[in-house]
């Protein structure tokens, strides 16, 4: 029986180890903000943070999540970067159908938590793994930049390199 830390709570599940984290989050925890889009880690709609790293939950079996790793979903993101991103998304009316936007927000929050002065190339690298069929991309770029400006500068060199967003595997970091 797996034990996971989701949104600061320890939860147990008898879902088998090969169950993708996405379906554990949605079907057992009823946290439905995290979306199913492709099931193969190709679209980013299912993005959650594992120890702060944006991770494709649809391609992350629960059995591979390290003991004590902190999983955070869209319903529970907190802090200055999260507020800045969500407010900028509203300010610029980024959303259309909205289905992918939980994943977009999670990707942007992860970026701006580590790098509040991202270049266009940084934004491309952080956001290109997240598909939006409504093609709200132009507004996403504007909103990411606007959100960044509302945060104090953090030199990207001083923090760890942002993880490649399309990588589906979770971080195997032990909880401190």
């Amino acid at each position: 029986m797996a034990r996971l830390f989701v949104n600061e709570q320890e939860v147990r599940t008898d879902f088998p180890d090969d169950t993708p984290l996405l379906w554990f989050i949605r079907d057992q925890l009823d946290l439905t903000g995290t979306k199913y889009g492709c099931g193969v880690g190709a679209c980013g709609a299912c993005t959650v943070h594992i120890d702060g790293v944006p991770t494709r939950s649809c391609a992350t079996p629960i059995g591979t999540v390290a003991a004590g790793a902190e999983i955070t979903t869209i319903e529970f993101i907190k802090g200055a970067a999260a507020r800045a991103v969500q407010d900028a998304w509203v300010k610029h009316d980024v959303v259309q159908c909205g289905y992918c936007q939980s994943g977009q927000v999670m990707a942007a929050v992860a970026l701006l938590t580590k790098n509040t002065r991202p270049s266009d190339a940084d934004i491309d690298a952080a956001m290109s793994g997240n598909i939006c069929r409504c093609a709200t991309y132009q507004r996403i770029r504007i909103a990411v930049k606007d959100a960044a400006q509302s945060l104090p500068p953090v030199a990207p060199a001083a923090v760890p390199k942002p993880a490649v967003p399309s990588r589906p595997a979770p971080q195997l970091k032990k909880k401190a």
Binding site: D14, F15, P16, D18, T19, P20, W23, R26, D27, Q28, D30, L31, T32, G33, T34, K35, Y36, G37, C38, G39, V40, A42, C43, A45, T73, I74, E75, V85, Q86, W89, V90, D93, V94, V95, Q96, C97, G98, Y99, C100, Q101, S102, V105, I123, D124, M127, S128, G129, N130, I131, C132, R133, C134, A135, T136, Y137, Q138, R139, I140, R141
Partner: protein, 722 residues
């Protein structure tokens, strides 16, 4: 009962631009308030004691902004404050919530939501306002003329009340029999811009899509469908599903074999483990390579073609032409691939059936689901959730995914399991599942006279009819011509004396469906690239050449000129680096009564890859009720069209679809999105739609830009440089 809200019901007052509207019965009769403290003014508007205004939206919100646009119309005439407005999906009711441009049918499509609702939703707001004012008049003993209504507040002298405070008293007022709509010069919301009503819930995970619905005891079904369209089940071997925990049932339904489990993953894993032997006797074994070759042959000959348009004598004009050009254009099948795969929840209730879905065709969906259970349509209660995109896919006359789910519920009942069922298509099911934009081949032959004037135009289209065999056939297919196959081709804005547009409607077993902008997704490409090619051949500027033939189409002309002006059309593009070439191209198209022109700037690299740098878009959609939604729809339409221009292609080999997911059916990604600038033509004309019209000009403008950069004319989609 005729519930159409026709022009006859409008009476223009003699002196002002305001409109007096008599209130038709179905939507505007006395509705019962949910509670004594609320005012339910009509079928659309409820003012609650907590001062919120709830608007029931008869259309599906799938991203296009209808929850915002329709609420804005109500808020305008109600003089509400935007922050108090709330939008909710209306129930299925073809009498109250029909699409007025379609007759007694509730549904969303053809970019018609705002246009058909413009007078209706304003009227709904005006009626509620009149009842609030009547209540204030009575309460304060002050004549109605002295009562001000502003931003959700009623006031007169020292008297003041919020809508919420006046709602209960307003509910007791006599219904007005007619209301007066505002003079557009007094608009405070329409055309001024309000923020989207659904932004916040869509950035914090709270917005509810059908896939998020969880009913007590709900099971999840995943369906194994035949690998070839039309195949039938011979036998089912479920041995390998043994040991997959959570699996509750494996049932055969007419559409395939459903695996039902306590959660999605168990259902999906077991679905993939089921082995079915299929009978392919009735299945299609088409290969698209062969099919396109057949279409090419068809498009090359006029024998047996239906005539969609015939002006003058095209054959004679081609014979006498000084110069002729012929080109063939090829378009693949396209999947819609909305981000939220098709899914729904269906539950048997004592009263019938309740379902939750992003329903786009409420009336069809209600009828089709009722039929599965042997119920009356009104015994099917529809709860319309947000839809995670659609692009046409959720509007299908068979209600495919809903009927599948209903069949699963029924099959489970037969085996004694009575549970709500959520049916989910995987992404693979979606890409392989059919109902594609049909493949087409076009040929166009054009003739020019000695001064380079276009004198003859012969356009022949071969491809499947979308409408044939559907409930819409009777009014969309005439004399063998499916209007949706030729729209955009049979109504060119150019004056050409001799024109013939012909259609070969083909049949095969591949399920097809409208896809965002429908016929214009291919006709705008062939016609607008051909016009461009002819202009260059005649030694003329593409904009000036179009303009010389557009005198009867001022709205096309205006958007084209605006886009060209904003793009600085006559200037030279800054040069590219590293041996790359740059080009600029233009296209203009009308679809769904909206007019859009786009200028594309492209950089073509030495390795024959290319990138769209910038798109300048001009749109005339009549009154732009919510201008930022108009801009967003143009941006989105451009991105959606660019995905198809770059990558979109569904192929079949021996009847089997070769693509399966975003890995082999790529769509546009963040780093590929061009800079888009949208310019809206100021207009007092009745509003038209914007969900689709941003799509058609993009691909032809891009192909024209590539031709400008390289001299290569690309005529096969997706676009690949040789």
């Amino acid at each position: 009962m005729n519930t159409r809200f026709s022009r006859r019901e409008f009476l223009k007052s003699s002196t002002a631009l305001t409109i007096v509207v008599a209130l038709p019965a179905a939507q505007f009769s006395r509705a019962q308030s949910a509670s004594g403290s609320a005012l339910t003014a009509n079928a659309f508007v409820t003012i609650n004691a907590d001062n919120t205004v709830r608007v029931l939206i008869k259309h599906l919100e799938m991203g296009q902004g209808t929850y915002t646009g329709l609420a804005a119309l109500v808020a305008e005439e109600l003089d509400a404050d935007w922050s108090q407005m709330r939008s909710e999906g209306a129930p299925a009711d073809a009498a109250k919530y029909n699409n007025l441009s379609w007759g007694p049918m509730q549904g969303t499509g053809g970019s018609s939501s705002l246009s058909n609702s413009y007078a209706q939703m304003r009227t709904a707001g005006a009626q509620a306002r009149a009842m609030l004012v009547a209540a204030a008049t009575q309460e304060w003993s002050i004549p109605a003329a002295q009562i001000r209504v502003e931003k959700g507040i009623l006031s007169a002298g020292s008297q003041r009340a919020t809508f919420g405070q006046m709602a209960a008293k307003a509910a007791k007022q006599t219904l007005p029999t007619e209301v007066t709509l505002k003079d557009p010069k007094d608009f405070k919301i329409i055309g001024k811009g309000v923020p989207r009503i659904d932004s916040r819930v869509k950035v914090n995970g709270q917005a509810k899509f059908a896939i998020d619905i969880k009913r007590p005891g709900q099971l999840t079904a995943v369906l194994l469908r035949p690998p070839r369209f039309g195949a039938k089940v011979v036998s089912v071997d479920a041995a390998k599903t043994q040991g997959i925990s959570g699996v509750r049932a494996i049932v055969e339904i007419p559409q395939g074999v459903a695996v039902v489990a306590s959660n999605f993953w168990a259902a999906k894993k077991a679905r993939d483990a089921v082995v079915v032997v299929w009978d392919d006797a009735t299945a299609g074994r088409i290969s698209t390579d062969t099919l396109i070759a057949e279409y090419r042959a068809l498009a090359a000959k006029g024998d047996g073609a239906a005539i969609a348009r015939k002006d003058g004598d095209t054959d004679a004009a081609l014979k006498t032409a000084k110069k002729t050009l012929t080109a063939t254009f090829e378009f693949p099948y396209l999947a819609h691939a909305p981000m939220e795969p098709l899914n729904c929840v269906i539950e048997r209730t004592p009263a019938g059936v309740e379902l939750w879905a992003g329903c786009q065709f409420h009336t069809m969906d209600q009828g089709n689901v009722a039929e599965v259970f042997g119920l009356k349509p009104e015994e099917v209660k529809i709860n319309t959730t947000f839809a995670g995109g659609s692009f046409g896919r959720r509007a299908n006359m068979a209600s495919d995914y809903l009927v599948e789910c209903a069949e699963v519920v029924k099959a489970l009942q037969r085996s004694g399991v009575n549970a709500p069922v959520r049916l989910v298509w995987t992404r693979e099911d979606d890409i392989k599942g059919g109902r594609y934009r049909p493949a087409y081949v076009h040929t166009i032959t054009a003739g020019l006279d000695e001064v380079g004037k276009l004198t003859a135009w012969q356009h022949r289209i071969a491809g499947q009819s979308i409408m044939k065999g559907t409930a819409f056939e009777s009014f969309t297919v005439k004399d063998g011509v499916d209007k949706t196959s030729v729209e955009g081709a049979d109504n060119l804005p150019y004056e050409i004396a001799n024109q013939r547009v012909e259609l070969h409607s083909t049949s095969n077993g591949i399920p097809v469906l409208w896809w965002r902008a429908v016929g214009s997704t291919h006709t705008a490409f062939s016609t607008e690239t051909m016009i461009d090619e002819i202009a260059i051949a005649a030694g003329k500027d593409p904009v000036a050449f179009r303009e010389s033939m557009m005198s009867k189409h001022p709205r096309h002309l205006a958007v084209m000129k605006l886009a060209a002006e904003k793009a600085n059309w006559s200037s030279t593009l800054p040069a590219a680096q590293n041996g790359a070439k740059r080009g600029r191209g233009i296209a203009v198209a009308e679809s769904f009564n909206s007019f859009v022109a786009q200028v594309v700037e492209v950089t073509v690299n030495a390795d024959k890859t290319f990138k769209v740098d910038r798109v300048i878009c001009a749109v005339d959609c009549g009154v732009a009720v919510t201008p930022d939604v108009v801009r967003a729809q143009m941006e989105g339409g451009i991105g959606f069209a660019l995905a198809a221009a770059l990558y979109g292609k569904i192929t079949l080999k021996d009847g089997i679809v070769e693509q399966s997911n975003f890995t082999d059916y790529p769509v546009l990604r963040f780093n590929e999105m061009p800079r888009v600038e949208v310019h809206i033509i100021p207009s007092a004309a009745p509003p038209t739609g914007v969900g689709e019209p941003g799509v058609p000009p993009l691909a032809p403008a891009l192909a024209n830009a590539i031709a400008a950069a390289t001299g290569q004319r690309l005529r096969t989609l997706p676009l690949r440089l040789a």
